[in-house]
């Protein structure tokens, strides 16, 4: 099985227009499409596919499903068989049911969030264009200088159940984990591509969404992003620009107009290798505050408790 990347988050929002404004003018995505059900599709500057964020009109905030791309059409059948054999219900999604993409396979994680695997995506090209591009115009978005959607963190009552499924059935690799004194997994960071995490699992209620992270080219760009958040008075985490001990990235968290958490970030390390080939970094729970927020050496009360 070859899941090649985390490609998009399909988000529920209570006000699609306000959310679209946010993802264009604060995050810095471009709107690529709309559909007759009122959904808005957006993509970052340096990714060619049709969307990295879908906004669904809804009464409740949170995530509808998470899209992951496979590297071969035949992987969809293999995944459907493996997930079914594991005992989770699989739904086949016809081509076009998600606008801009081919057939897919949808199923819940043990913690309840829906994953959708697919192979084909329509192309919108890079923001700079596909012929004789200028490398500079990618920075002409009205929002943050985001290059791509990088990873997502979801919550689970028993993160270990998701880790087991993702590593044993879908060939993800564990790159870092946080354990309690009894050895139980409190949080886990998993990759299916070459970066240290595509999908992370944190402690919290099943079925909920913690954040999605937008990658930037440098720490300088994150500072520019923070300036923008402050200038536009976007509600952000009390820890301004900071660093995670885990992966050492530079980061800031903020919220979209429905309360879904976003992150601007830069500087994750690469963790390439065959599934399970790179041994994970282990954090003991008592060191987790430094792993979570390296400068503050603390975890703010609302950080893990509040999810959508």
């Amino acid at each position: 099985m070859a899941i090649s990347r985390f490609s998009y988050a399909s988000m529920n929002v209570m006000d699609v227009e306000a959310a679209a404004q946010h993802y264009v003018h604060v995050v810095g995505l471009r709107e690529t499409d709309r559909d007759t059900d009122g959904r808005v599709y957006l993509q970052a500057a340096d990714t060619q596919d049709h969307h990295c964020v879908i906004l669904n009109p809804a009464k409740t905030a949170g995530v509808d499903h998470l899209g992951f791309k496979v590297s071969d059409r035949a992987d969809l059948d293999e995944a459907a068989a493996a997930v079914t054999a594991y005992g989770l219900p699989v739904t086949r999604i016809p081509a076009g049911a998600v606008k801009g993409q081919g057939e897919g396979v949808r199923f819940p994680l043990p913690s309840g969030q829906q994953m959708l695997l697919y192979f084909h995506a329509d192309k919108v090209g890079y923001l700079t264009g596909m012929e004789n591009p200028s490398p500079v115009s990618a920075h002409s978005t009205p929002g943050g200088r985001v290059t791509h959607l990088d990873h997502t963190l979801i919550s689970a009552q028993n993160p270990q159940d998701d880790v087991k499924f993702l590593t044993e059935v879908l060939d993800f690799s564990l790159t870092e984990k946080v354990i309690d004194p009894a050895g139980n997994t409190l949080a886990a960071f998993l990759t299916c591509s070459h970066t240290m995490h595509d999908l992370a699992i944190g402690p919290g209620p099943d079925g909920t969404f913690h954040h999605m992270a937008f990658g930037m080219d440098s720490r300088t760009e994150v500072i520019h992003g923070v300036d923008l958040l402050k200038e536009k008075a976007v509600p952000a985490l009390e820890y301004g620009i900071t660093r995670h001990g885990i992966a050492g990235v530079t980061t800031i968290y903020f919220h979209d107009p429905s309360g879904n958490r976003n992150e601007f970030y830069n500087g994750a390390y690469l963790a390439p290798g065959a599934p399970g080939w790179v041994p994970p970094i282990v954090w003991q729970a008592e060191h987790f505050p430094r792993g979570a927020f390296y400068y503050e050496n603390a975890v703010p009360e609302a950080f893990f408790a509040e999810v959508t």
Binding site: H255, G259, N260, R261, F303, E306, T308
Partner: protein
């Protein structure tokens, strides 16, 4: 509108809420910090039980924390709720009093 906050082990506080002002914003003017996270009506951090009174929502608030989860009690998201009558609320988290230096009193924080 008069808003009164209650929470176990904390002395009750009251403050005035102006028309079209959310409970969180009015509390802030009164140097009271209510527990929030998203301040966008999505995450439920500010969810509190309405003991008496009514509110309305000029901006959307996530149904997960209101009708869907309310059971027999009546809940509000204080970051988006604007009082339409005098209000008594029981908060899920303790609130904090902001230090009242002369300058912070002047700028209302």
């Amino acid at each position: 509108m008069q808003v009164t906050l209650r929470h176990a082990n904390q002395p009750e506080v009251s403050f005035a809420c102006e028309a079209a002002e959310t409970v969180v914003t009015a509390a802030r003017r009164a140097a009271i910090t209510i527990h929030v996270a998203c301040e966008q009506g999505g995450c439920g951090a500010c969810r509190a039980r309405i003991v008496a009174g009514t509110v309305h929502y000029p901006l959307p608030a996530s149904a997960r924390w209101l009708d869907e989860a309310s059971g027999s009690d009546c809940y509000a998201l204080l970051c988006r709720a604007v009082p339409t009558s005098a209000l008594v609320i029981e908060t899920a988290h303790p609130w904090r009093h902001v230090e009242n230096s002369p300058l912070s009193r002047l700028i209302g924080r």
